[in-house]
């Protein structure tokens, strides 16, 4: 993904997974702030039901952020982001309602700062443009409600000042989060461009070696049968019935080698190369050659996972990969038998699963002792 819609999560899913801990901490802080300020306000009076309702709605928003940013979930979508904003704005309105008839203005002020903290928590998951738009819209609603409330309550402080104070908590953290998101995305995109240049240089470097190796494989086949046959026939300058039979035979042999090459997918090559000596090969069941229809990003993610699993001594023999087709949808299943009860393996591979979640349409990880099952889907290209 490029441009203003790019997110750190899409560009660096494994790295973003590491910020999940921080996201949880920030959400907990936002929650605690809401609870403490609400408790202080309620101790001075006000409607308990809307105040508790506000806390309840805010808790739902917090739970949503923690869940969708976790390792068990896919990409943090704009819909989820906007839902979080909607919930927090709703909780702010409920909190304002709870203190509407009182002049204690401090009670409904937890929501702007809590929303701001939540926006910092989701900075890795959403693009700057969206953070600014959603944050500004939410801040304006909060500012308008605060302004109206200040006029109704007839506070000592100027209503505009109170509205600005309410807005500033959201805006300061929202714009800061947006800048962080933008700068992180720019850094990752710069790095990707550099990596592309390095990859191109690497390709130039290895191109000749690969070409020679591939050519040598073909020349070996040609030297064995084709060259002596053609040489003999060119010397005689005549075609006999034996030559015709022999030509057919050699053509069939070459064709069968080419078909065998064509029938071996990149995944089978990876599995063969990744296998450990003395252990059974990883089984690949791909009757429709669906591995060949994966994109480069999908191949890379799956390759990394297969290589990591093959090298893991806690993985038992019997590891298999099955690719099946359901219309245009391809479904892949990795069944990984894990030795002992070490299901920390799942967490160990979480960064790769995060990369797979971005590369594939959907990824689900399940543990059916002793197997770890990784299912992924993608559209047939």
């Amino acid at each position: 993904m490029t441009g203003s819609g790019a997110t750190a999560q899409r560009l660096d899913p494994a790295g973003t997974l590491g910020t999940h801990f921080l996201t949880i901490v920030l959400v907990v802080v936002a929650c605690l702030w809401a609870i403490v300020v609400s408790a202080l306000s309620l101790s001075r009076g006000g409607d308990t039901v809307p105040a508790l309702g506000a806390l309840g709605v805010f808790a739902i928003a917090c739970a949503l952020v923690v869940y969708v940013s976790g390792e068990g979930h896919g990409v943090f979508t704009p819909g989820i982001h906007l839902t979080v904003h909607g919930l927090v704005v709703a909780s702010f309105i409920l909190a304002s309602w709870s203190s509407w008839s009182t002049d204690d203005f401090s009670r409904d002020q937890w929501a702007p700062l809590s929303l701001g903290i939540m926006m910092v928590a989701v900075a890795h998951y959403r693009p700057a443009r969206e953070l600014i738009a959603a944050g500004t819209a939410s801040a304006l609603v909060m500012g308008a409600v605060t302004f109206a409330h200040a006029i109704v309550v007839e506070t000592a402080a100027p209503p505009l000042a109170l509205a600005v104070v309410a807005v500033i908590g959201v805006l300061a953290l929202c714009y800061g989060a947006a800048m962080y998101s933008q700068r992180t995305v720019e850094a990752l995109q710069r790095w990707h461009r550099r990596a592309d240049v390095v990859a191109e240089a690497l390709a130039d470097e290895v191109r000749v070696g690969i070409a020679r190796s591939v050519q040598q494989d073909r020349v070996t086949i040609l030297n064995r049968d084709v060259v002596p046959f053609f040489g003999d026939m060119l010397a005689r300058e005549t075609i006999t019935d034996d030559d015709r039979d022999r030509a057919r035979e050699i053509a069939n042999a070459i064709r069968s080698v080419m078909v065998a090459d064509a029938d071996r997918t990149w995944l089978e090559v990876v599995v063969q190369q990744a296998g450990r000596p003395g252990r059974a090969l990883i089984a690949v069941d791909d009757p429709y050659f669906l591995a060949t229809t994966m994109t480069t990003a999908q191949r890379t993610a799956l390759r990394a996972h297969v290589v990591a699993l093959a090298a893991d001594r806690k993985i038992a023999e019997g590891f298999s990969i099955v690719l099946s087709r359901h219309g245009r949808l391809c479904v892949g299943t990795l069944s990984v038998p894990i030795l002992s009860a070490d299901h920390a393996r799942r967490s160990r591979y979480a960064p790769i699963h995060a990369v797979m979640r971005v590369a594939f349409d959907s990824v689900s990880i399940q543990t059916h002792p002793p197997d770890l099952i990784v299912r992924f889907t993608y559209e047939h290209s």
């Binding site: 801990f21 714009y175 700068r183 005689r236």
Partner: protein, 407 residues
């Protein structure tokens, strides 16, 4: 491919992003504080709040400079000038209103938070935390001095403390997060590198298969179907030439990348223009091989070749599902061979509908009209290679090679 920053770049990038973010937050806090001061001034015109607005102007200026040049000099300047600004700002409010409401406390906290968000020089969480602590202490001391001077009661500012705590948590959390998730990055880098090499090899194998199919297998098929007797001179010449090429030369080892050669003739060629147009459509086109061979094609052939290749590239973009293709140019004594290779979904040539005229009309007929031949080698799910051969010399009604061989 989604690859994260390598360990040697990550801390610097995270620090830069973080500093930019907190500077934006500081600007919003300062502008907010100015608007709040203005609101107070408008509400109570007889009181004096406007000096608070002026107090924040130098802070904004130094913040701008600090963001442009995050050096220790500007960081220290920000703290010194910021301390004076916060003192002036706090003094203005403390001398005009009672500081006992949430709004007043929040108003006073805004520039203090901005001063804490100094960012400063240095890389890493520890450096940022040191600067933040310095900013926090300077702001609190300045505010304390101003409030005490007006004989109001000073109380620790909970809002600023909360902001400081959040910032500290952010810094420590980012640092912990970075440490934990980089362990799989080397594996992902290696996978990306291996994928690149595998794709390159696959493309070479496709080209090799297409060439073998187009030469050796073709000759063997013709021989198998030929009546016993004298070997056709045309077939003999073809076999000799192809054997010399396949066994004697490095037919897969390419000349330097055509685009890198900076060859003006290549850049002026019709084929280059076709490649450029395909790139403009969004296709990644890699061009390799002997571009000087194109010079031996006279005008009409050169133009028709370019149009045919363009059609092939459009087909890759439209039908293959792949976003990249390779154009390889070979030059032999009597002909020029151009191969368009993609690693897309491939197709079954027999299953192409009659409405798909691109390959038939724009490629086959066009090339055959100037005496060349086209061979398509494609397997569903494995990619496609289209081999276009054009004889060197003026256009004539030369029969296609395959037809000659089949006689």
């Amino acid at each position: 491919m989604s690859l994260g920053l390598p360990p040697h770049l990550a801390p610097r990038a995270v620090s830069r992003s973080f500093i930019s973010a907190i500077h934006v937050t500081a600007v919003v806090c300062l502008v907010g504080a100015m608007i709040v001061s203005l609101a107070f001034q408008l509400e109570w015109p007889k009181l004096i709040f406007w000096p608070a607005i002026l107090a924040l102007v130098p802070l904004l200026v130094v913040l701008y400079l600090l963001d442009r040049m995050p050096t220790p000099f500007f960081s220290v300047s920000y703290l010194i000038i910021g301390g004076a600004s916060v003192y002036w700002y706090s003094l203005t409010f403390a001398s005009q209103i009672e500081l006992d409401s949430f709004a007043a406390l929040m108003t006073l906290a805004l520039p203090k938070i901005a001063l804490m968000l100094v960012g400063g020089g240095g890389i890493g969480a520890a450096a940022a935390l040191r600067w933040a602590t310095s900013g926090f202490l300077v702001a609190e001391l300045a505010s304390f001095a101003a409030i005490v001077q007006t004989s109001q009661q000073y109380a620790l500012d909970g809002i600023s403390i909360a902001a400081y705590a959040i910032m500290a948590m952010l810094l420590i959390g980012s640092w912990i997060g970075q440490r934990g998730t980089r362990r799989m990055q080397p594996l992902l880098y290696r996978a990306a590198k291996e994928e690149l090499v595998a794709a390159l090899r696959h493309r070479m194998e496709l080209r090799a298969a297409a060439l073998l199919h187009d030469t050796v297998l073709n000759h063997l098929s013709v021989l198998a179907e030929s009546p016993p007797g004298q070997l056709s001179p045309v077939l003999r010449a073809r076999i000799e030439r192809d054997l010399a090429l396949l066994v004697g030369e490095e037919w897969l080892t390419e000349a330097p990348r055509a685009d890198a050669s900076n060859d003006t003739e290549w850049h002026d060629s019709d084929l280059y223009r076709a490649v450029r147009e395909a790139r403009a459509l969004g296709l990644e086109v890699d061009t390799t091989g002997d571009t000087t061979a194109l010079l031996r094609l006279e005008g009409e052939k050169s133009r028709e070749l370019a149009l045919a290749v363009k059609q092939c590239l459009v087909n890759v973009l439209t039908h293959s599902g792949s976003s990249d293709a390779e154009v390889v140019i070979y030059g032999a004594d009597d002909e020029v061979l151009v191969m368009v290779v993609d690693t897309g979904c491939g197709f079954d040539a027999d299953a192409i509908g009659s409405d798909r005229l691109g390959l038939k009309t724009s490629v086959h007929q066009r090339i055959e009209a100037v005496g060349g031949t086209v061979q398509v080698w494609s397997t569903a799910g494995r990619g496609t290679s289209i081999v276009i051969r054009l004889p060197v010399g003026p256009a004539s009604s030369t029969r296609p090679i395959a037809s000659v061989s089949a006689q």
